[in-house]
Each structure stands twice: as C-alpha cells, then as structure tokens.
Symmetry: C2
Subunit: 297 residues, 2 copies
Amino acid sequence: MHLPKSVIIKEVGPRDGLQNEKAFIPTENKIEWINKLSETGLSHIEITSFVPPKWIPQLADSFEVAQGIERAEGISYSALVPNVKGLDRALDAGVDEVAVFMSASEGHNKNNINKTIDETFPLLNDVVKKGLTANKRVRGYVSTVFGCPYDGEVSIKDVIRVVDSLLEMGVYEISLGDTIGVANPLQVEEVLTELFKRFDKSHFAMHFHNTRGLALANVVASLQMGVTVFDSALGGLGGCPYAKGASGNLATDDLVYMLHSMGIQTNIDEQKLYEAAKYVESKIGRNLTSHQMLANN
Amino acid sequence: MHLPKSVIIKEVGPRDGLQNEKAFIPTENKIEWINKLSETGLSHIEITSFVPPKWIPQLADSFEVAQGIERAEGISYSALVPNVKGLDRALDAGVDEVAVFMSASEGHNKNNINKTIDETFPLLNDVVKKGLTANKRVRGYVSTVFGCPYDGEVSIKDVIRVVDSLLEMGVYEISLGDTIGVANPLQVEEVLTELFKRFDKSHFAMHFHNTRGLALANVVASLQMGVTVFDSALGGLGGCPYAKGASGNLATDDLVYMLHSMGIQTNIDEQKLYEAAKYVESKIGRNLTSHQMLANN
C-alpha cells in the first residue's frame, strides 16, 4: 500500500459542521471553539461562511467570529463566500483566505445557489479575481462530485468541466465534495484517475461525508491515489439535510486516529483535539458521534 | 483497485452481537430474528454460543434457539463452542457447523478462557476432532490478531503459531478477529501479506469491530488482498467491553451497502436486511447504530 508520509487536514467544523445544527451557537462560544482548534496543530481552519444570514442563520455572526478569534502563527483562517458582496465582508473581517463553491450537477447547483452552472461561472470568476487581487488565496469547493440528491449519478465530464473552469479562474486547490456521502472507494479511484489524467494531483483535496459510513475507506482510496489534503469536522458534526439522523462530515478525530495509526503525520495533537471536542459537546448540548468520542466518553 | 466479484458474509449478530447487550432477549424473539435473517439471502448465520450460561447469560437459551429456528435451504447455521461439552450440546441441538475460538495473545486468552495458549491447543484439538468425526465443518476464531487489550501489540509470529495449529487440527476456515477494533488498513495488508506467504488465502475470513470507525476501510484493504469472507452483525450490534459506548461489530448492512456500491455481489437483499434490523430494534428497545439505520430511520 503506497501511502504519503504526511497529510494536511482542513477543519471545516465551524462552517460545514454548523450548517445543519438546529441551535444557534453564541458568538463567544464559536470564537472559543476556534481558539481551541488553533491549539491542536491544525494549519487550516474554515471559521465561517459569509452567506446572507437568511440562508444560514446559524452563521449570521460571521463577521464577529472572524474578528473575534485569536490568530495563531502558521494557521490559515478561511471563510466561504458565495459572491463579491460576501467576499468584501470576508476581506473586511480579515480572513486569510476565501473559498468559493458550486456543484458538479445542475440539480444541486440550482437548488443550492439558484443558478445554472453556466450562470455560476462568471459570478465565481468575479469573486476569484477580486480575491486574488486582494492577495488572498482562493479555494474552490465542488459539491456532488460522487452523486447528486436531485440528478442521481454525476458524470465525470461534468466534474471535469467545473474543475477546469475553477482552476482556470485561479483557485489554488479544489475540494472534491461527496455532499451526500454516497462515494465508495472504487469510485474514488475511478474519478481521481480521470481527473489526474488532466490536472496535477497537487490541486486536489477530498471532502467526504460519512452518511453511509464510507468516509474513512474513501480516504484510504484517496491516499493510495496520492491525495494529501482532506477536509473534516471535529467530532463528525454536520449531519445530512438529505438523510435525517445520518452521520455528518468525516470526523477530524477519526481521520487523525486512522492516519496516525498508519504512521502518517498530521502535526495534530489527539489529546488537544479531544479537549476541543469536549468543549463543542458542552456548547451544542449533546454528545458528538465520532468513533473516538463514542469510545473515549 | 483489484476487487473480488463476490463476497460471503457470515452473520454473527445473534451470537457476537448479543454478548455485550445488557438485556436478555426472549428466546422466541431470538428465533424470530434468526428466521428473518434467513430470508435476507445470507448463507451463514452464527446463531448462538454453547458456553456455560454463567459466562454469557444472554445466550443461556442456546439449545432452545438452535432447536427452535426454521432451517432454510442452503444456509449453514453455526454455533460457537468452547469445549467438548459445549460441542456435544451443539450437536444435540442440531447445528450445521461449529466454531472454536482462542486468542493470538496470552493476555486475552488467559482473561477470556482462563488458560495459556499452550493449554488451549489440546483442548481445541479434542473439539475439532470430535466435530469432524460428527461430520461437521469446524471454523476457528482467532481473537486479538491486530492488538490485545492486555498485551498491547501482537506479533505476527504469535498469530502464525495459532493459525498454524488450528489449520493443523482441521478447521476449514480461520476468522481473524480485530477484537478491540484497533486494526488499520496498512496493518491489515501487512498481517495478511505475512500469513499468505505461509497459508492459502482461501482459509481466511476477517472479523472486524468498528470501535475506531475503521472496519470498512479494513474490509477494503482485505478485499484488495484477496479475502472474500467477512463476519459482521446486522445493525452493528456488539459494543466493546474495553471501550464503553464504542461502536460494535462491523455492521452487516453497512458492509452490504459498500460491497454492492462497488459492484461486488453478496446475494443479500438490502430491504430484507432493513426489515430484520427493524425487528431487532423493536426487541432490544433502542435504535441500532449502523450508518444505514441512522440514515434510513
């Protein structure tokens, strides 16, 4: 088994993990949560999303969160931005980098951002260009790469088209999202094989959801393909709007446990992760469902 | 990714899944549960264990269960037996095959069956020989192959020694158990590589627990090594006596979902599995924690 020596984990809990939480976490708790994440050894934390508050009320305090956190040396604090207006607010709030997003499938893109894929390209192009002009790195999320809740199967051609456009705009990395958690290891290998024929593998990160329990198996398939960047959310926060009760994002603590057990370095302290997760549990008022938290609690 | 075309799943829920349940499931419910499993397409169901009732009170009705179930064509109904006395009861109850068990590590073997490994060999030899004489197939479980709750790391030499002895006795298959759920995919590859240098791979089944969430990733590593037989428990029943609150056995429904999604045949009907799992939930009085049940409930 050919595995990389080290992996970069991008924590998305404060953003992707909160989108499906019912309760509003008070701003000061979000800030403390992120501060605790900053102590774990993570090098990249997605702290919030500058979407209109009516889209995601749980993240209505994005500006205050971005301004309130302590900035630790060597950590990139990023935020999701849907458009130029969101980008401007993110820049005002002083984030280190921004991320744009769209879907590989028409159905999900329309439902998620109310535009066709062709209508989305020029919109994101404006955001990426303005972000780059402001000397920020811009990341691109592609949703529904492995399946769509509206369209079903997603063709590799559709994925390639979106990836190609985003790289052309100037994003430095593309996070391939298994939005509804339907990817399997064989499919991961097939999709990455096709993408790596056309694009350098250093451009890609994987963003798995654990809806069907396959997230870690998909990580191993990705590692074997040479991917070294993974998104995850501490404790497995996130859920799935299309399958109530289902597991959420790939859990950072489960990912770190597996990587370390295989001798792959992450620079992350498992005990510090556990402490941060205990803090999150105390604020969301329920136990987190990652395997590490179930086993350690 | 080199994967087999089909896989045999051996359901161990009525035995391994119940060992850690607090409540006693009434005999008639166990029988109905197994009858429902018989409708799913499974070809092998481990229905109980003929250990002394004081060891595992939850399985004190093993004889009645074995006698009470409907026997479906083409399904092998097996039972765990610790010694010749247990074997005799299992034979009286009319099981199709039996399974013996021991650990690869001294610490677990002593704690689990109160004997050293060297003391265990002649004991199991008597059971295997008598089982074979009765024209029953005999399977061998080896516990703590990937780590021991008492001894920590387990050397491949210790695993080989136990495997060698069991095959020598005449067991047709050895189920390699990750008793405390600490295996990782790289380790699975390493252990199987060593074993397959000495023994034919057709002798081996894998028995993963999902304590740390790695069971499915370990299955994929095993599939890539050519293993085609896996133990699992519907709904992920089982828990872990060494980590309270942790996930239990690899869930049959999660395993079937993953295999089918990769085009690997199991002959198992996912809807029938779901119906059997709903029955189990109604009798244990709580929701099962497999990802399929969380997503579908």
